[in-house]
């Protein structure tokens, strides 16, 4: 069954300053969307607002998913409903191993589905985790390390994708997953995302650069400027942008605005 994350007229502010000025976007399972734009335009804000970061206030609009308005739900409820966000800057948690963390996260989901659930068995969990780590070409010792503590930039991003692979969301937001990655790490992470993509997963890739789109092919590309989406199109839109840069886009917007007035 196709599920869709539908964003309608979304406005959001941080410390009273409006960052998102009216976003409309629909991402369905089976689709890959790329959201591009210059720095400071609100892309990461959108990702955080979708996941429910407490520092942002939604001032108008709705985020609809599975018949619920996510604006009213806490981050953990959104997650258990099937939403996932790969963080641009994942925080570290000392003393908490990747394996323990993921097992607890899986169990929280199972508990949601069935309050009587006793949790995933240890052998079953080991099997799943190994399978996902192999998919992402991660060494198994990774499971015993403390979450993000002392991880390199590439390891952090891979750990994010490992979490996505293990939690099996229906809609995943990748916030600048390509930033800080060398070309090899970018390839591994992209291959991981491609392996997970399919009819049961919708992906929203948030990126400043076009280069991740050499590895992950979106069907839809959206351009964000000043807190809203100003252009939507197919993969060719990203290529135009690569050739001409965001400056050109801004000029085009200004021309459009002039025509309207």
């Amino acid at each position: 069954m196709v599920q869709a994350l539908e964003i309608r007229g979304l406005r959001a502010a941080v410390n009273g300053k409006e960052i998102l000025t009216g976003i409309d976007l629909k991402v369905s399972t089976g689709e890959i969307h790329a959201l591009m734009g210059p720095n400071g335009t609100g892309k990461s804000t959108l990702a955080n607002v979708l996941m429910g970061h407490p520092s942002y206030q939604v001032t108008a609009g709705e985020i609809l998913f599975k018949g619920k308005n996510l604006v009213e739900l806490a981050p953990d409820e959104r997650s258990r409903l099937g939403l996932f966000m790969a963080f641009q800057y994942p925080v570290s948690i000392s003393g908490l191993s990747v394996a323990n963390f993921l097992r607890s996260a899986i169990n929280a989901r199972r508990k949601q589905a069935d309050p009587e659930d006793k949790g995933i068995s240890v052998p079953e969990f080991r099997r799943v985790l190994k399978e996902k780590m192999d998919l992402l070409k991660m060494s198994h010792e990774f499971a015993g390390r403390y979450l993000n503590e002392g991880f390199s930039g590439g390891e952090k991003k891979r750990a994010e994708i490992l979490q996505m692979a293990t939690l099996e969301p229906e809609i995943a937001i990748l916030d600048e997953t390509d930033s800080g990655l060398d070309i090899d790490a970018l390839r591994v992470v992209s291959e991981g995302v491609n392996a997970l993509a399919g009819p049961d997963l919708g992906v929203l890739i948030i990126t400043h650069y076009q280069r991740i789109l050499n590895y992950i092919k979106p069907q839809f590309v959206h351009i964000m400027l000043d807190g809203r989406i100003v252009e939507s199109g197919g993969p060719d839109l990203a290529e135009h942008l690569e050739e001409r840069g965001y400056g050109y886009l801004r000029e085009m917007q200004e021309e459009k605005a002039a025509e309207v007035s």
Partner: protein, 470 residues
């Protein structure tokens, strides 16, 4: 680690599970307050030799002469005249649980002590009010010459060994409460491990207070002879009363050449107990002393386990964990004195404060002139769970030798919005997410505990955490 199941289990539990009150079955109670007569009476009941009565009276004299310390927690609220300094719970101490009066045995059953003894302990001592009501050790250990007795039985049955060590590690004049303990001590363990004997399973002592306004003054001596090894664990609980009780122990440990002693405390007094304890070890050539000190309960704890590294190559470690909840002040830490060359030490302190609780790290690291090549590392980490709570660090370092290697670092962190958001974005509730941060924080300490205690510790922390989220 917290799982969704743990968190659910947490919902059904009270904050403090050990606060139940049993009927007062004591066979004798001293009149309230402290006097020469009370001290003489305690000594008389115990049928002590003359030197011990004299020792007690010297303790009393010093205690009365010395002012309350002003540097730690608030002691002004203690009504010393309203304390009962000696309560005899039973006529005699038992060698089997059948010998213990039913009502008292029922309490220890509730606390799971006989069960733990059967499963994973080499020996158990159980103290109720002022006396040990039970003391027993596995037979193969007593056959090897291991002595594990109540402190009174130690004095009675091994007078020379007792007198050789008693009061040598912590003298009467050490501090006001050591002096008080010297005057009215009662209960505690006497342990001797012969040369080369290694005890694999822990010995455990459990301390229980039952009647209100009681003072408990446990006195323990552990002597680990050359090349021997022992792990001693103490636990403690008490009912919740609106008036305060008092626990002031003195623990003296002697670690001989190449011996190894680990002393683990899981202190879980109810939040109306003042806990003022002096614990110290003398460590000789190549010996190792490890203190694992977890303080979760009490109203105020002042406790700084110490290692005196007296001879070449002696090693001391202090792993201190404090959890300060509403109305609690944990003033804890450790002291290491490097007297001899090539000695090494490590102090790791982890404190958690929540709900307005206060955790203070207080530590002393001293290196004497001539303790060449001494090495020490001190790490103090504090975690604050909310803005109302408090953490302080008082590290004192005195180095009188040039050729040393000393490291010290201290951090204070808050359970941050970013950490909680990150964990919650994976489907964990705010409670479970906070618990994970806390469990991770104390993981380096819990890892050092025997498995059964590690499980217990995580459970106790969960109980402490209950109600910590909005």
């Amino acid at each position: 680690m917290a799982t969704a199941r743990d968190v659910q289990a947490l919902d059904g539990l009270g904050q403090y599970r050990y606060g139940f009150v049993d009927p007062d079955v004591s066979v004798y109670k001293a009149p309230k307050g402290l006097s020469r007569a009370v001290v003489e009476h305690i000594s008389g009941i115990k049928e002590e030799p003359e030197w011990m009565l004299e020792y007690r009276l010297r303790g009393l004299e010093h205690y009365l002469a010395r002012p309350l310390p002003k540097w730690g927690g608030d002691l002004d609220q203690i009504d010393f005249d309203n304390i009962t300094y000696y309560v005899r719970p039973a006529e005699a101490e038992g060698k089997t649980w059948e010998d213990v009066p039913d009502a008292i045995k029922a309490t220890f059953d509730k606390l799971g002590i006989p069960e733990a003894e059967r499963k994973f302990l080499a020996g158990v001592g159980a103290q109720y009010e002022s006396e040990m009501v039970y003391h027993n050790i596995q037979e193969h250990l007593s056959q090897q010459g291991v002595i594990f007795l109540s402190i009174e039985a130690g004095l009675r049955e091994h007078p020379d060994l007792f007198r050789k060590y008693f009061g040598t590690v912590i003298p009467i004049s050490d501090n006001k409460f050591a002096a008080l303990n010297s005057a009215v001590w009662s209960g505690g363990s006497f342990i001797y491990v012969p040369p080369g004997v290694k005890i694999d399973l822990p010995l455990q002592a459990y301390f229980r207070l039952n009647t209100p306004n009681i003072g408990q003054f446990e006195r323990t001596i552990i002597i680990a002879d050359e090349g021997s090894q022992v792990h001693y664990v103490e636990g403690c609980t008490a009912p919740i009363y609106t008036t305060d009780s008092f626990h002031s122990g003195v623990i003296e440990i002697i670690v001989h050449k190449h011996a190894r002693v680990r002393y683990t405390t899981i202190q879980n007094w109810s939040a109306n107990v003042y806990n003022l304890v002096t614990q110290r070890a003398m460590v000789y050539e190549g010996g190792t002393m490890e203190w694992v000190d977890a303080n979760l309960g009490s109203k105020l704890t002042m406790k700084y386990p110490s290692c005196y590294l007296m001879e070449d190559g002696a090693h001391g470690e202090i792993l201190s964990m404090a959890f300060a909840g509403p109305g609690q002040h944990q003033d804890t830490g450790g002291k290491v004195i490097h007297v001899a060359p090539n000695t090494s030490s490590k102090i790791t302190s982890k404190s958690i404060s929540r709900g307005g609780g206060r955790a203070s790290y207080r530590g002393l690291l001293k290196v004497h002139k001539g303790a060449e090549n001494a090495r020490s590392n001190v790490v103090c980490d504090a975690l604050l769970l909310d803005p109302q709570s408090r953490s302080d660090t008082y590290p004192y370092i005195e180095i009188d030798e040039d050729n040393v290697n000393i490291g010290h670092e201290a951090t204070v962190s808050k359970v941050g919005e970013e950490q909680l958001f990150y964990l919650m974005s994976r489907g964990l509730s705010a409670e479970a997410a906070t618990m994970m941060v806390v469990s991770g924080f104390i993981e380096p300490l819990v890892r050092e505990l025997p498995m059964e205690y590690a499980v217990e510790m995580n459970r106790l922390i969960q109980l402490q955490m209950e109600g910590s989220i909005g």
